[in-house]
Symmetry: C2
Subunit: 177 residues, 2 copies
Amino acid sequence: MCYASIMDTRLDPTPIATPPPTADEVLITLVRHGHRVTGPRRAVLDAVLAKPRPFTAEQLVAELGDSRAGAPIGRATVYRTLEILASVDVLSRLIGADGHPSYVVGTPGHRHHLLCSGCGAAVSFTACPVDELVQTLTRDTDFAIHGHLLEVFGVCPTCQDDATTDGIGAGRGVAVG
Amino acid sequence: MCYASIMDTRLDPTPIATPPPTADEVLITLVRHGHRVTGPRRAVLDAVLAKPRPFTAEQLVAELGDSRAGAPIGRATVYRTLEILASVDVLSRLIGADGHPSYVVGTPGHRHHLLCSGCGAAVSFTACPVDELVQTLTRDTDFAIHGHLLEVFGVCPTCQDDATTDGIGAGRGVAVG
DNA sequence: CACCGAATGATACTTTGTGTCAATAATGCG
DNA sequence: CGCATTATTGACACAAAGTATCATTCGGTG
Ligand SMILES: [Mn+2]
Ligand SMILES: [Mn+2]
Ligand SMILES: [Zn+2]
Ligand SMILES: [Zn+2]
């Protein structure tokens, strides 16, 4: 497992690569959307922007509710703020191989993720092969299709090395779909 | 919403269409896999095979724990049995637009689902557009890719009709990805 | 039918997430 | 600046979903 190395290459087979925004930029966006700028929201935002890889809501709750620096932040506030940040495209929700949701920063627009089942690293990409499929499905089923969910799971190079070195199998082969 | 009509067309853009197995066939499979045939397992199996569309574990717990016919079945048993049935390819787990998992019968092998956000109907299909993407991602990231998760969300024809008739908007546009 | 391990299910517990609501803080305005 | 208005906060209670434990029961085998 490669907990140390930051394998967060924001690689883009189809180049778009919007860089993650700064805290100040986000605050402006929030105001523009009619939200207020509060202490707790700054705290959540700062914590979130510091995360180089996907994290769960509860992780943040533990981190910020524990009264680290400044005042501890309530569970409800964390969840609410995450929702807001996602609605403003600062965060995007993604679903892990276990079906549990998590958040990751800086992925506005249409993106998917390649997730390492060893260390949790996420590589986001904009290439989406679903469009053609949607055409076919629409024709064959007459559904009005309005979205899809696509995540790819694998083991990153670092974790592969760790596995062969340690002799420990990396990634539990959580093949889905 | 079309609660009545059974919109469970097991349509296959790429024809494979394995028909759902009978209870007896499944029991044989269970034994073959070293499991025992018990009363509770029969009950869960029967309930499961009667479901024409995706259902959650808790739904089954409510249904079978309520001592309908015969003895009520414990929560743990229901969860355990569902796991086993999924491991034997009688059930497959799928993820809804809300990120919550559910099960659906008779979809062994590599399949994905088109889910109606109105009535919950599921159309399973075997066409998978991810293969090429996996090639690209493997080349670009050196990940050892071992699986993926793909679900498509939309509104089925019946629910579309209901919506225009009732004047109520169908499906909350839960666009994911 | 007697044995043994698998399976059950009541119970308690954890985790994740949602509603409520009085107290508080942020904005806009005079 | 000081105040009114209103969004926001967070403690709390609650709900949903799932897991761990373990004494008891049951299925299968000989
Ligand atoms: Mn896509
Ligand atoms: Mn696929
Ligand atoms: Zn890794
Ligand atoms: Zn429908």
